[in-house]
């Protein structure tokens, strides 16, 4: 299901057809193919969001995953998911290796290639682990059973007496066969449907392509080189929504081999040497027409212009503000585009290879079958790489140049022409009974989004509402979506309510919770932190917060130190308890939890985009501070393994409790409630 706040997404193609069976062998060579056919993923994921054909009951079936074992015994699994640093390549390889009783090293996971892999909506919403892992497991189980049947046939044995061990089929009388010996001369396809799978073993398998990363050999998109390839640059408008009124590109002539490409408002250059292009671009004189636009200074008044009407007596009310922030993936948007015989191939780092294929087909008015998008394992996304801007630009330049073109966005371009985590204003009104039970809860979110907007607490009277606003900046998905904003507001307010009721914040939460899983993470975090056992040192404070999102439960306890002179805030210690069902890979899960916490520090304490009249004012790393080594608190992570539950994704939820636990700790330290993200104390010296 798509959250409505994923503003950057288009709807997918209306139909998805499974490739002709013979095509598999044409592309992949002989052997055996297992196809997992499920109700059309595109149609079911989109239902309720857009009116498409085939929605509702009787959904058509489409291939969700497939695998191929060649006549050489090489095992390849195919998924439309991509690897953007969340270690899905390793997690998925691990899952199928477990089911196929085969070493991890012997499996190749083909990901995110629109010519080779099944259609997939995209890698977002923490869906890879709960959805794709069981699907690939199902395929691996079928393949295992099939291989045993093939061996049984060959050896005239009962397949129940055979097994696969360490990638070889083992017979009763010491006979063994490699996969290749069984698939030789075969051209067979088997279709399977959904079915039961095993729970993950929960082992820490090292990153499967880690060696290529530590040696610098893994080719990210900006590292790809094609024969005859040129480099590109784009002339950017002076502000958002600016219209080109005049252009003089004659100055480019003095740069040998540099060509100007112009198509309406689109102006770019291509040339054989990347290092001459910035100067060639500067030689173009362009005039742009711009309109006045809202700025970051008056942002919150713009998002929620009218203050709410007066509250009833006995009501606790507060307003929270959330700034726009940028994803800052260390690999900026990049694409290599190549046209051959009217067919377009683009290598690009995106979380939605099929979505970008659609964008490209629409931009060039060609059928999707004429577009191939290949996603190399990418230098991160965090929800920020769902769109194909750079792919389209590179393809337009390559079309004009008649040669492959590589376009790598500069950091400033990434800061300006990508999309941002939505800003927002949140109004809360609440009432609590004498027994510390919340009786009334009113929560209005303007613009930032609806994720995590529901309260996990048991409250008799609730009114919870998201209000859409025309955003002054282009906005879209970000790790955790609006759950960070909504949890910040809710969990900050919970502490204010606890204080008003003169109850310890942990006890106040327990008193209003029924969900045992939330209780368990709170208890685990509090125990590890030593909540209630000691008082903070002078200028230090303790805070707690919890949350639930995308099938995962998180609780964080934070200790902050406030410098009495500079008022600067430093996170000293963060204890995070996280539970997302059965654990797939504890090492990589710890990395995801800690990574989310560290990323959360930026949005909590210093990240905010400044803008004015359609211009980003701090769009470079020297002006926009992201968390660094020195910001690192002592991190303690407690993973609760619920082997009895399905595995949920973990890339997003651990971020949501960091900001409110930090804010609560700041209040505990200095008695000031900060209600704007990022949280900066008045009078801070930078």
């Amino acid at each position: 299901m798509l959250e409505p706040e994923r503003y950057e997404l288009f709807s997918g193609p209306a139909y998805q057809f499974t490739p002709d069976r013979r095509d598999f062998f044409k592309i992949l060579g002989g052997g055996i193919v297992v196809l997992l056919m499920l109700p059309d993923q595109a149609a079911s994921q989109e239902s309720g969001v857009s009116a498409r054909t085939g929605g509702g009951t009787g959904l058509p079936k489409a291939a969700a995953a497939w695998m191929h074992i060649g006549e050489d015994g090489i095992v390849k699994f195919f998924t439309g998911k991509v690897e953007v640093g969340q270690n899905s390549r390793t997690a998925l390889t691990q899952a199928v290796a477990e089911e196929l009783h085969t070493p991890v090293e012997s499996i190749e996971m083909v990901m995110g290639d629109t010519d080779l892999t099944p259609f997939d909506m995209g890698t977002f919403g923490s869906r890879t682990t709960p959805t794709m892992a069981p699907q690939l497991r199902r395929v691996a189980i079928s393949a295992r059973e099939w291989l045993l049947d093939l061996a049984a046939e060959q050896w005239r044995a009962d397949s129940a007496t055979l097994k696969i061990d360490n990638g070889r089929v083992q017979g009763p009388s010491g006979k063994t066969a490699s996969f290749g010996e069984l698939t030789k001369g075969k051209n067979l396809v088997k279709e399977v449907g959904a079915g039961p799978v095993s729970k993950p073993r929960g082992e820490s398998v090292p990153k499967v392509n880690g060696r290529a990363m530590v040696t610098g050999h893994h080719p990210y998109t900006p590292d790809i080189k094609r024969s005859g390839m040129l480099h590109g640059r784009i002339l950017r408008p002076s502000a958002f929504d600016a219209k080109l009124t005049s252009i003089d590109a004659t100055g480019v002539a003095k740069f040998p081999g540099v060509q100007v490409v112009r198509d309406g408002n689109f102006v770019g250059i291509v040339g054989p040497e990347a290092h001459t292009l910035p100067r060639a671009l500067a030689a173009i004189h362009a005039e742009w027409k711009t309109e006045p636009q809202p700025g970051s200074k008056d942002l919150f008044a713009y998002l929620r212009p009218a203050a709410p009407p007066p509250a009833a007596p006995g009501t606790l009310e507060a307003t929270y503000n959330i700034a726009y922030i940028a994803h800052v993936p260390l690999e900026p948007r990049a694409a290599v585009a190549e046209w051959a015989a009217g067919r377009l191939t683009v290598w690009t780092g995106t979380q939605r290879p099929f979505g970008v294929r659609t964008e490209l087909a629409q931009a060039f008015q060609i059928p999707e079958s004429q577009v191939r998008v290949i996603v190399p394992d990418t230098g991160s996304g965090y929800g920020g790489k769902h769109t194909g801007e750079c792919a389209i630009e590179a393809a337009r330049l390559a079309k004009a140049a008649g040669k492959p073109v590589k376009l790598v966005w500069t950091r400033e371009e990434e800061f300006t022409w990508a999309y941002f985590r939505p800003a927002g204003v949140i109004d809360i009104r609440s009432a609590t009974g004498k027994d510390g039970i919340i009786t009334n809860w009113e929560f209005h979110n303007y613009n930032s989004g609806g994720s995590g907007i529901e309260t996990p607490y048991e409250i008799a009277h609730k009114q919870i509402q998201f209000h859409a606003v025309k955003s002054p900046l282009r906005q879209g998905s970000y790790r955790g979506l609006a759950a960070t904003a909504n949890h910040f507001a809710r969990e900050s307010h919970m502490d204010d309510m606890a204080r008003a009721a003169e109850i310890d914040p942990l006890e106040f939460r327990y008193r209003n919770l029924k969900d045992p899983r939330m209780h368990a993470v709170l208890e685990a975090a509090a125990k590890q932190f030593g909540w209630g056992k000691s008082k903070p040192k002078p200028n230090h404070g303790f805070g707690i917060a919890c949350g639930f999102e995308k099938g995962g439960y998180v609780a964080s306890c934070a200790e902050v130190a406030v410098d009495p002179g500079t008022k600067r805030i430093k996170l000293e210690r963060v204890v995070t308890a996280f539970e997302c069902g059965a654990i797939v890979n504890p090492e990589h899960l710890t990395n995801q939890v800690e990574g989310a916490v560290v990323m959360g520090i930026g949005g909590a304490l210093f990240e905010a985009l400044e803008f004015e009249d359609g211009k980003i004012l701090n769009g470079k790393l020297s002006r926009y501070r992201v968390p660094r080594f020195s910001d690192l608190p002592k991190l303690e992570t407690i993973l609760i393994d619920r082997k009895d539950l399905d595995s949920a994704g973990a890339g997003e939820t651990p971020i949501v409790a960091l900001a409110p636990s930090t804010g609560n700790a700041i209040f505990n330290a200095v008695g000031v409630r900060l209600r704007t993200l990022p949280m900066v104390l008045p009078g801070t010296k930078t």
Partner: protein, 156 residues
């Protein structure tokens, strides 16, 4: 102009002001060093010049000429990983891996100067390297692991 990279000498012509990162990546096909910000703020482009970590994206070619440059591609010898590379694998010190070459080169510069750095020293020395995935705790663990391995002399 002569450029000595990973023990190999390259003859280069043209603008001596162009940045070293672009030369390594676009002209010598050594793409292990990454572009991240273009202003020396993220450390993804870090290489060693005469043993010291340098941000190649803001280093003009003329400054690097005729000095020994080591990039991530030159760190392993005869197929044996450098102890830092092995330690990053063992400590699982990466997620997307894009910052990893720069992290390893900065750490290599640190360990060349200081064989057994304590955590605060690692934190200071690596402050200019950004890991947006937030893998900092594992990276510190990897640097300590590599320091211990180098001290034991278990590497080639």
């Amino acid at each position: 102009m002569d450029l000595e990279v990973n023990g190999r000498t390259y003859k280069l012509e043209g603008d001596p002001e162009r940045n070293l990162l672009g030369v390594l990546r676009d002209e010598l096909d050594l793409t292990g060093s990454k572009y991240g910000c273009g202003e020396g703020q993220c450390g993804a482009c870090t290489v060693l010049i005469a043993g010291a970590p340098v941000r190649s994206c803001i280093t003009p070619l003329r400054v690097a000429a005729a000095k020994a440059i080591t990039t991530i591609e030159g760190l392993a010898s005869n197929g044996n990983l450098h102890p830092l590379q092995q330690a990053f694998l063992d400590a699982d010190a990466f997620q997307c891996g894009y910052c990893t070459p720069g992290m390893i080169m900065s750490a290599a510069g640190l360990l060349a100067k200081s064989a057994n750095p304590a955590t605060p020293q690692i934190t200071r020395a690596m402050h200019g390297n950004v890991c947006r995935c937030g893998t900092y705790p594992k990276i510190i663990a990897a640097v300590r692991l590599a320091a211990a391995a180098m001290k034991r002399g278990t590497h080639a």
